[in-house]
């Protein structure tokens, strides 16, 4: 079906017993006469190629009525070689190919096909061209009744191969296309190349056919039209006939002579589209001459049959040699492409005059006068010795941490920059774009081609593949940890296990051993902290065995926790820090915004320091084990701070900021816990300050309540505090390796003193209160009524009883206390609880009788409904701070309750703790209040005032929804007892939450630590990049912006993937390399070499261009400021070189004593082109082109494209 479809346009025809054939095309008259003698018989088989232009003249092939059947053949073109007719039943196909290095004549018999015999002779003659010859159909004067069969069957492998090739050309719509204008200047290297691939096979040998073409934006639309289907109107065809075919236009275009980067075929021939056929296995190179010829023949047949004007190449010889042989068939002409590749240049051809001889010889035109050859030349000079700059300009600091001579700053700054010179060489290309062969002389003895005279200069920089960028290296090493599975214990096991039998003679340690376990057992027997303690105590190891030794660890910890440093040192440090930490002005706004963009942590937070320290430790102090050790120390420090009530420095106060990373939120949470703990204790101190007796009282009271509720309350916690304070300095800190912590402890004690002094002075820690502006710490003191103790006692017990019913999760830490308390106060407690249970049904009653407490402020001038008392806003408990994961968990729990009404009910109940707490506080503050009063404060819109209501005498009622019997509000109100916030069950259990955080921290594997720190790592790296970036290269700025936006996205995705970070690290490395290159280039092209200010600007632009443009043309060539500078660089390099090797110079350069400014060109390229009639003097004048490239000591290559007229020959 395919074949029949193609019948009309490209018959692959075998007209049998053709009655009469006569070509209508005048061009074929010559052919006919020639072909006349060889009359085929009925069995004659021909390859008929019909060219589109001729189609209209053509009679239908299968029209039996016409006596004159035309199939316009490819006009035959072999004037010098007579057509040999090898038999009556054969069509002779002659191919003459000239190859300069294989002058031989073969005749090859090939292809015994199905019923008919084809003989293909392949001749390698002296003729300059390769052409395909079809036996011309001839007029047969046989009987008219012989019918005609058009046979398109493809029987042999070869036929199938050719047919498939044609098919592919059709599929890609490469047939009958209109010529494109030549590619715009420079587009071969800058434009976008596309390719289409198809695999075809010749017998069992498979080939890959690739069509490569340049995307033409400029003629996108017209391009569509310019490739019309063959059915298009003839008008278009006519117009297209006038235009030069794409191939020729490209060949002759001067715009793309030396593309900086492109496929070699387009470089040599200037092509914007071509097809390459390569063996699909690289090992199967086509080496034998005959195979090459068969393939070329096939290509010619296919091109002739399809009428495709696209050049087709066959890759021959080994791949690396980049040898191609190709053909292109155009209406009325054809072009042969051939490549010569040698390792060294033959001396007679290694200069222009020799090459011109080759070119002219190959062209073999007999016209006189000989057409002038136009020459384009490019010489490339390489500079590798940079006279004025050595690398590294400033050796990166990474040696110092290795030697343990660390200042804190070494851990605080990530390294940056390349450790090798990222720029390896500069290539200067001097181009003479268009010269006439008569204008210049270059031969063995003399050359006109002085680089200083070249009109065009361009520079190309060869970068070092991997300049070993420090930041990128450090980061990727750090990221590798994220794939490790070991836990901290796994990594430090040998350190841990050794400890058990390690009895050092250290007295202080012995004492610790005595005290510590006891203390631990006193108050937290099975708790997690105990476990961690015992684990951590084993971390006190022989310093020699740890990945990080004692001194370094001390430095590290002091760096992480500067507040724990001795005061005297601290001040020095602070000064130096403020000096050094000035951000670069240009990007300061970006740095400020960075913490908003990234979900990491505010600048200069503890975690930033931690992550940089970990990165450094990973590189220089034991890798992952060092990381594990430092992390362990960090966790211990966190625990120490929690137990000893030091706020964690470098963490913003307040509840966890959900815009930061989880780890930071956790630390904020821990800080919140510590804060609350301090506050609780402060409160307790307030009590103790009153009198010993009272203290005793309240102690026992609290003990009762804690016994009943088994919840923890202030005194317990406080006593725990005291214990830990006593033991803290000896017990808990024994966990931190002593050497490093001795100093820290000392300074901590000092600090502790300071804080306690502050507390005594009544300076409360600043913390936000969501409800009111007043400071609640003060309020707590204020509302302590001296005579309330008795009431308190009662209520407390009620409270306790009440809470017992709820019976919440027990706090194990309180167990000891509880047991103690039980012994002393159990009888009293029972008594009270019985008493309370009697009164609980009439809770309204006692709420009137109690004394008000826990008042915050009057609520405007509202008065209670049932009395003249003003309505007081109570002091309430702060809402629980929550980290992102807690919130998620909580929301999930709520969501899991489902959407049924029961679920909703349950949800409401779960969340009513806060409401109940507020109600209790309200009741405590407003004795004798009613639910209406509460609603007026809490949900004013549910209190509906009636018209006659006045301020003095408010009349109104609750909204209907509040009046529904059994609604959760009134239920809660019923159950709420008047208890001030201070004595309520804590809504926020700081002990539990702190332990949770500490557990979270200590349970992390080093890999988890890395993953959690990644956002901070990114943040620090970006800041680092920005502060190291001082070049005004737009490309760098672009990269940084891209990096930030990408990081922002990655850090915000809910699930952190290491892979995404790995990509980002690659991006960071890229940016770093770019900056390193810019720095290197700046050093190599110092603006000091340029005098004028405009020149300086130009140099800057030049450097910026070098970073992202492959080949940078130099403004003004050798005379411009940049060119001038480059010249100086070469001169300096040459002088350096020749000073060393004076003798050699004398040998080589006998003619001159002076050192040449430039070295010998490393590469020389010549493009020779001309237009000349070929093959015969009366042929059409056609373009010819030869590209020669001579790379010194590496290769010599000629790539020629020679066109020949296929009509007049």
């Amino acid at each position: 079906m395919l074949r029949s479809k193609r019948k009309s346009k490209s018959p692959y025809a075998r007209p049998n017993a053709h009655p009469a054939l006569r070509a209508l095309n005048p061009a074929t008259t010559a052919t006919q006469t020639q072909a006349g003698p060889s009359r085929p018989t009925q069995a004659a088989v021909q390859f008929v190629s019909t060219q589109p232009q001729n189609q209209e003249h053509q009679l239908p092939v299968d029209d039996p009525t016409t006596s004159e059947q035309t199939a316009v053949p490819l006009p035959s073109i072999a004037p010098s070689i007579p057509l040999s007719t090898s038999g009556p039943n054969t069509t002779v196909w002659i191919i003459a190919i000239y190859t300069p290095f294989y002058i031989a004549l073969y005749t090859l018999k090939l292809c015994m096909l199905k019923e008919t015999l084809h003989t293909t002779s392949i001749l390698f003659g002296l003729d300059v061209q390769f052409f395909s010859r079809k036996q011309t159909p001839m007029a047969a004067d046989e009987d008219a009744d012989v019918f005609e069969i058009t046979d398109f069957t493809t029987a042999s492998d070869w036929e199938r191969y050719v047919a498939r090739l044609e098919e592919v050309l059709h599929e890609w719509k490469l047939v009958n296309s209109n010529p494109l204008p030549p590619a715009p200047r420079g587009s071969l290297s800058t434009g976008k190349w596309h390719e289409k691939k198809e695999s075809i096979s010749f017998a069992d040998f498979s080939f890959l056919v690739t069509y490569k073409y340049l995307e033409r934006d400029d003629i996108q639309k017209s391009g569509e039209e310019s490739r019309p289907s063959p059915d298009d109107e003839s008008e278009e065809k006519e117009s297209s006939e006038e235009a030069l075919p794409t191939v020729m236009a490209d060949m002759m275009s001067l715009d793309n002579d030396f593309p900086s980067k492109s496929h070699c075929l387009s470089r040599w021939f200037g092509l914007q589209e071509f097809v390459v056929i390569t063996p699909s296995q690289s090992s199967a190179a086509i080496e034998s001459e005959s195979r090459i010829k068969i393939l070329l023949s096939s290509v010619s047949i296919a091109l002739n049959n399809t009428g495709s004007p696209v050049p087709v190449f066959i890759q021959i010889q080994q791949y690396w040699r980049q040898m191609f042989s190709g053909a292109c068939v155009l209406p009325g002409s054809s072009i042969d492409f051939d490549v010569i590749h040698l390792k060294t240049a033959p001396p007679q051809y290694s200069h222009l005059s020799g090459l011109l001889d080759v070119f002219k010889a190959k062209m073999a035109t007999q016209v006189m006068p000989r057409p002038t050859v136009m020459v384009a030349v490019r010489f490339t000079y390489i500079l590798t010795e940079w006279h004025n700059s050595t690398w590294p300009q400033e050796p990166p600091d990474f040696s110092s941490p290795m030697e343990d001579e660390v200042g804190c700053s070494d851990f605080g700054n990530l390294p940056f920059g390349a450790s090798e010179d990222p720029v390896s060489e500069m290539q200067l290309a001097c181009t003479w774009p268009s010269l006439s062969e008569d204008m210049i002389v270059e031969n063995q003895n003399y050359s006109d081609l002085d680089p200083m005279q070249a009109p065009q200069w361009a520079v190309r920089i060869i970068m070092t593949e991997d300049p070993n960028c420090l930041l990128g290296k450090y980061l990727s090493e750090f990221l590798k940890i994220s794939h490790r599975k070991e836990t901290v214990e796994d990594l430090l096991w040998n350190l841990l296990s050794k400890e058990d039998d390690d009895q050092t003679g250290d007295i202080s340690q012995a004492l610790q051993k005595l005290t510590e376990p006891k203390v631990a057992k006193m108050y937290n027997i099975p708790s997690l902290s105990n476990v961690v303690h015992s684990a951590s105590s084993r971390l006190a190891i022989k310093p020699g065995q740890a990945p990080i030794n004692g001194d370094t660890l001390t430095t590290l910890l002091e760096f992480l926790f500067p507040d724990a440093k001795p005061v005297s040192e601290k001040t020095d440090k602070d000064e130096s820090e403020t000096e050094s930490d000035k951000p670069s002005t240009k990007y300061s706004s970006i740095i400020e915004d960075l913490s908003k963009h990234l979900k990491s942590a505010p600048d200069d937070s503890l975690l930033h320091n931690l992550v940089t320290a970990l990165v450094m430790v990973n590189m220089h102090h034991g890798g992952i084990r060092g990381v594990a050790q430092l992390w362990q120390e960090f966790v211990l420090e966190m625990r120490y701070r929690w137990e000893n009530k030091f706020l964690i420095s470098g963490i913003n106060p307040g509840s966890p900021n959900l815009g930061t990373c989880l780890l930071y939120q956790k630390l904020q949470m821990l800080n919140c816990c510590i804060e609350r703990k301090i506050k609780r204790e402060q409160l307790y101190k307030g009590y103790t300050g009153q009198s010993l007796e009272e203290q005793k009282d309240s102690d026992s009271e609290e003990a009762v309540s804690s016994q009943l509720t088994t919840s923890d309350s202030e005194p317990c916690a406080a006593s725990e505090e005291e214990q830990s304070k006593e033991s803290g300095s000896s017990g808990t800190t024994a966990t931190v390796s002593k050497e490093s912590t001795d100093r820290l402890q000392q300074s901590r004690k000092e600090q502790q003193k300071q804080t306690s002094r502050k507390e005594k002075e009544g300076i409360p820690a600043k913390r936000p209160h969501l409800d009111s502006s007043s400071d609640d710490d003060d309020e707590f003191f204020e509302c302590e009524d001296e005579d309330k103790e008795k009431d308190e006692e009662e209520e407390n017990e009620e409270d306790g009883e009440e809470e017992e019913e709820e019976d919440n999760e027990e706090d194990e830490e309180m167990e000891v206390e509880t047991i103690k308390a039980k012994e002393t106060t159990t009888p009293e407690g029972e008594e009270v609880s019985m008493e309370v249970s009697g009164t609980s049904s009439s809770s309204y009653m006692d709420s009137i009788t109690h004394k008000p407490e826990g008042r915050l402020a009057k609520s405007g001038d509202l008065k209670l409904l049932n009395s003249e008392e003003p309505l007081y806003i109570p002091i309430t408990q702060d809402p629980s701070p929550m980290t992102e994961d807690m919130l998620e968990e909580h929301a999930e729990v709520l969501a899991r309750l489902g959407t049924s009404s029961e679920g909703a009910q349950l949800r409401a109940r779960m969340q009513s703790a806060c409401l109940v707490s507020d109600m209790e506080s309200f009741k405590a503050a407003n004795p004798g209040c009613t639910i209406e009063d509460f609603v007026r404060w809490y949900s004013p819109r549910d209190w509906i005032e009636e018209d006659e209501s006045t301020k003095e005498n408010p009349i109104g009622h609750l909204s209907t929804r509040m009046q529904i019997p059994g609604n959760i509000w009134s239920e809660a109100w019923q159950s709420a007892k008047p208890v001030p916030a201070r004595r309520q069950k804590r809504l926020f259990d700081d002990t539990k939450e702190a332990e949770k955080v500490l557990h979270f921290l200590s349970a992390m594997k080093p890999a988890d630590v890395v993953v959690h720190l990644l956002p901070l790592l990114l943040h620090s790296s970006i800041v680092n990049i920005i502060s190291n970036e001082d070049s005004d290269v737009p490309k760098v700025k672009e990269m940084i912006e891209h990096l930030i936006s990408k990081s922002s996205m990655v850090t915000r995705t809910p699930h952190q993937h290491v892979r995404r970070y790995e990509d980002l690290v690659k991006l960071i490395t890229l940016t770093e390399t770019l900056i390193a290159r810019a720095t290197s280039l700046k050093a190599k092209f110092p603006s000091s070499l340029v005098e004028s200010s405009s020149g300086k600007e130009e140099v800057e632009k030049f450097i910026s261009d070098l970073l992202h443009i492959n080949e940078v043309p130099i403004n003004g060539g050798p005379t411009g400021p940049v060119g001038n500078m480059i010249h100086k660089l070469f001169v300096a390099a040459q002088r350096d070189l020749h000073m060393v090797m004076d003798d050699e110079e004398n040998k080589e350069e006998t003619s001159s004593n002076t050192v040449p400014d430039f070295p010998r060109p490393s590469a020389r390229e010549y493009i020779l082109r001309t237009a000349a009639p070929r093959p015969a003097p009366y042929s059409k004048s056609l373009p010819h082109k030869m590209t020669c490239s001579i790379i010194e000591g590496h290769e010599f290559r000629l790539a020629g494209a020679f066109a020949s007229d296929t009509i007049f020959q």
Partner: protein
């Protein structure tokens, strides 16, 4: 329709002053019921409904919040990750309208998605004693780039439409939501042509 896969799950918030009818709106939308004695919400409540918009099925997780000021320490925690927010006011209560600024501010502060779609709903239009005109509502919505509609949970007027419009807008906003790794072609053309005949105004 029931078998078509859910395109995405969207989180939608309902916020506004107490007793403006947030829970009633939600109940009307999800269960098509109305309870004049709807209890005051404590903390947050939660309902789920799948909705077909433009041929895409979206599962809505709608978080209903308590309006009382005291709960405001609690509820914003749940604003995280919401793609849409419905701000409700009571057309019969000027104060509930005037407080909208506070709620918008709250939303700015606590929502993690900065391009979340906001919709303003004036509720209780079935009642006689209107204090906030539709023009006021429109003006406010225009000023703050919100969708606007008036509705009544009691008569169900505008309720369905409000949710549909919001979801449609969310789905049309690129980058606001994530599919379960399926590329979905969203037709931008038929923006106004939904099943809704209400007063939705895209401002």
């Amino acid at each position: 329709m029931g078998d078509t896969e859910v395109l995405t799950t969207l989180k939608i918030l309902i916020i506004g002053e107490s007793s403006v009818g947030k829970s009633s709106l939600l109940l009307r939308f999800t269960d098509d019921t109305f309870d004049p004695e709807q209890a005051a919400t404590i903390g947050v409540d939660f309902k789920v409904k799948t909705l077909q918009v433009d041929g895409n099925r979206a599962k809505l997780a709608i978080w209903d919040t308590a309006g009382q000021e005291r709960f405001r320490t609690l509820t914003p925690s749940y604003y995280r990750g919401a793609q849409g927010a419905i701000l409700v006011y009571d057309v019969t209560n000027r104060a509930s309208f005037q407080k909208l600024d506070v709620w918008l501010n709250e939303l700015e502060t606590f929502s993690t998605k900065h391009d979340l779609i906001k919709m303003l709903v004036g509720n209780k239009i079935d009642q006689e004693n209107r204090e906030v005109s539709k023009e006021d509502g429109l003006k406010f919505a225009r000023k703050h780039h919100m969708l606007f509609i008036e509705a009544s949970a009691k008569t169900r007027e505008g309720v369905q439409c409000a949710f549909e419009e919001l979801v449609e807008k969310i789905i049309q906003t690129p980058g606001l939501w994530e599919t379960s790794n399926r590329g979905v072609d969203i037709s931008q053309g038929g923006q106004a042509a939904s099943a809704c005949q209400g007063y939705c105004a895209v401002i």
